[in-house]
């Protein structure tokens, strides 16, 4: 009875000529769920977003310009700052593009060291992505489970190269140091205890009905849109495109390694929704564990770095290299004029593409879902701005 009366009342109010108003809201640049300093201008009708325009550039440090000033060797530590959540993979990208320019071959053991460091970093990056995603959505406990494991990886990487976040571990031609004594044993011990924890994390969050309700069928991105907007990595695979640079344009020692390329299947909703982007990252951690185990078994002895002159002057020319970073296919385009300094360096990152699609996918969603969209696309602001 009461409800029916309410409806009548609403109709009368609407009939009285009252209009609804569009609201412009500001989100960021300092906001706990924007994953770095970035801002959204949200136009909303009530709680429904009409558009969400990203405003980026707060973390622009002109890294590409710096490359033109510091030389090839000197730029390696700067690549850490491109994406500080997955710095190893940026190191690897820079190393690979320089090696391609100069035609340097990395010794086998050096490649294995790179893959080991990169895959550890991929797991730690995904842990942070998954942990903050559930935290943003409102579940605090799983975040601490994820961050605890990430700390263990940080400890391992600290032992490897002395740094916990900005590693500067790789060099043009290989890596700076071989694995320290006992590293393989410690790593295997970590993997043994980490693998069951993925199941624990799944029990905590993934199969939680409330969580699934919150992310399934939200912000669905079709495979066509994903390719059109050049989404890469886990975001692309979540939309059902089975493509991984490590498998499809193989580099380093990945052809010698066996691993799965998980894709989104819409198991809790539609292919390409927030849940798929989440579950793909969980499965990728499992794949990385598999890769790491093989690496420690197959790793040959030998040098870890090729002979590269201190005055590194690649012949004039240009190269484009793509690396599968934690946020997907990262493009490194470098032009050399034959001097000690790169003539131009352009870094096309996964977060950059992902930011470009947020406005499109967030139209018509609730404001609260914007947080889930940003987190599920795993946008890291410094990687957008460079």
């Amino acid at each position: 009875m009461g409800l029916a009366g309410y409806e009548i009342e609403v109709e009368q109010v609407a009939g009285a000529g009252l209009t609804t108003e569009e609201m412009t809201l500001n989100m960021g640049p300092q906001h706990p769920s924007t994953h770095g300093v970035l801002r959204f201008v949200v136009k909303a009708d009530g709680e429904v977003m009409i558009e969400a325009i990203p405003d980026v550039g707060y973390l622009h440090r002109s890294i590409e310009k710096i490359a033109e000033k510091v030389g090839y060797h000197g730029f390696m530590p700067y690549t850490d700052r491109v994406d500080y959540v997955a710095a190893m993979l940026c190191n690897q990208g820079w190393g690979m593009v320089c090696e391609r320019l100069a035609g340097i071959e990395v010794p086998k053991r050096g490649e294995y060291c790179r893959v080991i460091a990169s895959e550890f970093n991929r797991i730690s990056s995904h842990l942070l992505a998954l942990g903050t995603m559930v935290l943003d959505i409102g579940a605090a406990t799983p975040f601490f489970h994820a961050i605890r494991e990430r700390e263990r990886i940080n400890d391992l990487l600290e032992e490897l190269c002395g740094a916990r976040l900005t590693y500067n571990y790789m060099r043009i031609g290989g890596v700076a140091w071989d694995l320290p004594p006992g590293f393989a044993e410690k790593s295997i011990a970590f993997l043994d205890q980490f693998e069951p924890l993925i199941d624990e994390f799944n029990d905590l969050v993934t199969l939680n009905k409330i969580y699934i309700e919150r992310v399934a069928d939200v912000a669905v991105i079709s495979a066509e849109d994903a390719i059109d907007y050049n989404l890469v990595g886990p975001n692309l695979r979540a939309s059902g495109v089975k493509y991984d640079v490590r498998r499809d344009e193989p580099y380093s020692v990945y052809p010698e390694l066996e691993f799965d390329v998980p894709i989104g299947t819409g198991e809790q909703g539609t292919v390409g929704d927030c849940f798929d982007r989440y579950i793909v990252r969980i499965r990728e951690m499992e794949a990385s564990v598999k890769i790491l185990r093989q690496c420690f078994l197959q790793m040959p002895d030998g040098p870890v770095i090729a002979k590269v002159p201190r005055k590194f002057k690649p012949p004039a020319g240009e190269a484009y290299v793509r690396v599968e970073s934690a946020r997907g296919d990262m493009g490194w385009y470098v032009v050399s004029d034959g001097s000690e300094f790169p003539y131009r360096c352009k870094i096309r990152t996964g977060s950059f593409s992902a930011m470009g699609i947020i406005d499109k996918v967030s139209r018509g969603l609730m404001i609260a879902d914007l947080v889930a969209v940003i987190a599920s696309l795993d946008v890291v602001a410094p990687e957008v701005d460079r």
């Binding site: 980026v56 550039g57 622009h60 002109s62 590409e64 310009k65 391609r100 320019l101 849109d225 390719i227 059109d228 907007y229 050049n230 495109v241 493509y243 499809d248 344009e249 020319g317 240009e318 190269a319 484009y320 793509r322 296919d329 493009g331 385009y333 032009v335 003539y343 131009r344 352009k346 096309r348 950059f352 593409s353 930011m355 470009g356 699609i357 499109k360 701005d385 460079r386």
Partner: protein, 164 residues
């Protein structure tokens, strides 16, 4: 399909609007006249044998010695797993080229970045604003002759040397 074969196809279709092909380069590239770039890209995307469905990267390079700014398009086909590089050379004084935003949505942000940092104007772009720098920033930092302003809104950009 390799770059030489693609170049052949483009030549047949577009004639002189498509320039030479450097097939000896590490990433073989094809030069395209600025006026034809949108049509060439549309053709490369729509032709089923080529099917360049993604714009992997788009960047600008300032060659001040040649008095040119080049826009470089790195294309990739997920359907056929082949790459291609296109280059457009523009005069430094008036770098204008038509947008490829209508071909690949990814170009929207990539072109905004090139406009922001190199000052290339993309005709027909839906939202050509600066992307990374503030909207009142003066100059295009990735140009080789760029000189940083002494200050920005009263904030000095000069720093004393750390090495004394």
């Amino acid at each position: 399909m390799d770059a030489t074969a693609i170049h052949q196809r483009l030549k047949e279709r577009f004639g002189d609007a498509v320039g030479d092909c450097d097939s000896a380069a590490k990433d073989p590239w094809i030069a395209v006249q600025p006026g034809a770039i949108a049509a060439v890209c549309r053709f490369l995307k729509d032709e089923p044998e080529l099917a360049f469905d993604s714009l992997s990267n788009q960047s600008g390079v300032d060659y001040n010695a040649k008095d040119a700014i080049e826009v470089v398009y790195h294309l990739y086909s997920y359907a056929h797993r082949h790459p291609l590089v296109l280059k457009v050379s523009l005069p430094r004084a008036n770098p204008v080229v038509s947008t490829v935003e209508q071909v690949w949505k990814a170009a929207n942000w990539l072109e905004r970045e090139i406009y922001d940092l190199l000052g290339v104007v993309f005709e027909g772009h839906s939202d050509l604003r600066r992307l990374l720098l503030p909207e009142d920033w003066v100059g295009y930092p990735l140009r080789k002759d760029y000189v940083e302003a002494e200050e920005y809104h009263g904030i000095s950009t000069r720093r004393e040397s750390m090495l004394k």
